[in-house]
């Protein structure tokens, strides 16, 4: 009897490991041990960010109000149509930046080649729309809204597309591919807002690496040391609004979702931390289901997947958050119309 059970188990393992379709979707060894550690990603992200940006990227909203566009779980494979639509929509609308909540591509080298090409094309479109080329590899802001004496090289222009890493980005050693394009999975950005009354406000964008279902000790250390707190000496917050972008969802919108969320202690730690930061809105992805709720004064939006394989029909998969000149905030869902061409039989 025992021999029969062991033979059946062995047969099941062989069948599971030999099924190519299953392997493409599910990385079975990853259920027991991951091939990329969140601690390694943190070390690399911190080094890159310190070296490149002296710890922080600054965005400027010169007219008092601004908007930004958020998408999630694009799972780019060979067809980047939905990603292209998101970036084109953001540029056309004049969003200050575009955030992606992870699982941007499934882990295969050719999918990342497709994605990299798309990001390069989108940056060209952005530079053409926002900058004037005044000489060989010399660019200034268009329209004189910024100081024309600030001259950038093409590489110095920060394309305002800010992703966080998702589990599917890296399940098969994909961190090398992802970091080659986006470099850093944990970072913060300040938005400098010039208000009509002549004052300046600061908004805070925090991008957390939760792809592994835990932030890991290094990221928790950063948070506990107050690296992201942004407080004046008297303890008051520098920031008007704080927005958090991360992959793994906090809440559990539906019964029939079997992806891991944060373990119990970490869920309660994060809910508490978001309250301490006085976060305005936390954006999550991961479960491919829309969810909206308030918890303890913080608004949580979990976005549906924008991937054409998961949601082939046009739909409201993106979210645009609008902050007006008076500081009023609302959000709207943004429709995506791209549908993949039908395959010939």
């Amino acid at each position: 009897m025992k021999t029969r059970i062991f033979l059946l188990l062995a047969l099941a393992c062989v069948l599971a490991s030999s099924c190519e379709k299953l392997q493409e979707k599910i990385n079975l060894p990853g259920i027991f041990i991951a091939n990329t550690a969140v601690e390694d990603r943190m070390q690399m992200s911190e080094l890159y960010y310190k070296k490149m940006y002296d710890d922080k990227v600054w965005l400027v909203a010169p007219d008092g109000g601004y908007s930004f566009l958020v998408g999630a779980d694009s799972h780019v494979t060979t067809d980047p149509g939905r990603m292209d639509e998101m970036l084109a929509n953001g540029l056309e609308h004049g969003d200050l930046f575009y955030a992606h909540l992870g699982d941007i591509a499934d882990t295969k080298a050719e999918y990342y080649v497709t994605l990299d090409s798309l990001i390069k094309v989108a940056k060209h479109r952005y530079v053409d729309a926002k900058f004037d080329e005044i000489g060989d590899n010399q660019y200034i802001y268009k329209g004189g809204t910024e100081d024309p004496s600030i001259i950038f090289s093409y590489d110095e222009i920060v394309y305002p597309f800010f992703p966080v890493v998702g589990n599917h980005d890296i399940t098969r050693n994909g961190w090398a591919l992802w970091s080659n394009i986006f470099h850093s999975s944990f970072y913060e950005i300040d938005v400098v807002v010039f208000l009509d009354n002549g004052e300046v406000a600061f908004d805070h964008l925090i991008f957390l690496d939760s792809a592994s279902g835990t932030l890991g000790r290094t990221q928790i250390d950063f948070i506990e040391k107050g690296v992201l707190d942004g407080k004046y000496d008297d303890g008051t917050s520098i920031y008007r609004y704080t927005f958090v972008f991360t992959h793994t969802n906090i809440f559990h919108p539906q019964f029939n979702e079997f992806a891991s969320t944060f373990p119990r202690e970490e869920t309660f730690f994060l809910l508490d931390q978001f309250e301490k930061w006085k976060v305005t809105c936390v954006f999550c992805g991961h479960v491919h289901t829309w969810d909206e709720r308030n918890f303890n004064g913080v608004h949580y939006l979990t976005l549906d997947s924008m991937c054409e394989a998961n949601n082939p029909n046009p739909g409201d998969y993106l979210v645009r958050l609008n902050i007006d000149k008076d500081g009023g905030i609302d959000y709207e869902k943004v429709r995506m119309n791209y549908t993949p061409p039908k395959k010939k039989k």
Partner: protein
């Protein structure tokens, strides 16, 4: 057939959020008949500052040399560092074979954030999760009633914690000292992100206890 059981154990472990922790737990079971029993337990994990109470009733259905149990649990967890109280109602069926055991059931979990300085409840301070399946499998190398045994388990729950698809797995062992006393032990790894195919170190703990029946 004994009427009462008591288990007491100590735990030491490491958790990514809280660091090192030690804990104790105690369990008491009273058998009304050889089929019906009620139990209660408590635990406190020092340094992590988590306290728990669990009460449950069990019905045992003998099936030849195996047993099928039906459990109903009410669990209350206090996560003191984050002022959060979690309440869980769980119902499950547990099959106890000679070499294998299996549990399948459903949890209903709600939690709320309290603040001792302010009002106890706010409407946006509570969250009721959708029902969560619980699944557990254990395999032993010796028959169930052997004086000593070593086994492996994988599950998405523990005595006091019921997770949303975060599995914990480990090795368990027991050794019978005499008819009334048994030593029990478990080494548990509780990775994060296992069902996201990125199992990552989150918590590991070792648990050692004694079980006394009379």
């Amino acid at each position: 057939m004994h009427k009462n059981e008591i288990i007491t154990d100590i735990t030491a472990g490491y958790n990514v959020i809280t660091g090192m922790f030690v804990g104790q737990a105690a369990f008491f079971t009273h058998h009304f008949t050889d089929r019906w029993s009620i139990s209660g337990s408590e635990q406190y994990q020092f340094m992590k500052n988590v306290g728990s109470l669990d009460f449950w009733g069990t019905y045992r259905l003998p099936l030849k040399r195996t047993n099928l149990y039906f459990d109903a649990h009410l669990v209350d967890n206090m996560f003191y560092p984050w002022q959060t109280n979690e309440f869980i109602a769980n119902a499950s069926a547990y099959f106890e074979g000679n070499y294998m055991d299996f549990r399948f059931g459903m949890s209903f979990i709600m939690y709320h954030k309290y603040d001792v300085k302010k009002e106890y409840y706010f409407t946006d301070r509570s969250y009721i999760e959708p029902p969560t399946l619980i699944v557990g499998l254990g395999v032993n190398i010796r028959p169930r009633n052997h004086p000593w045994n070593v086994g492996f388990f994988i599950r998405n729950y523990d005595q006091f914690f019921y997770e949303n698809w975060n599995i914990n797995l480990g090795v368990r062992a027991h050794a019978r000292i005499n008819d009334q006393l048994k030593i029990i032990s478990e080494l548990t790894a509780r990775p994060a992100g296992s069902m996201s195919q990125l199992a990552t170190r989150y918590e590991v703990s070792y648990n050692l206890g004694v079980k006394y029946v009379w």
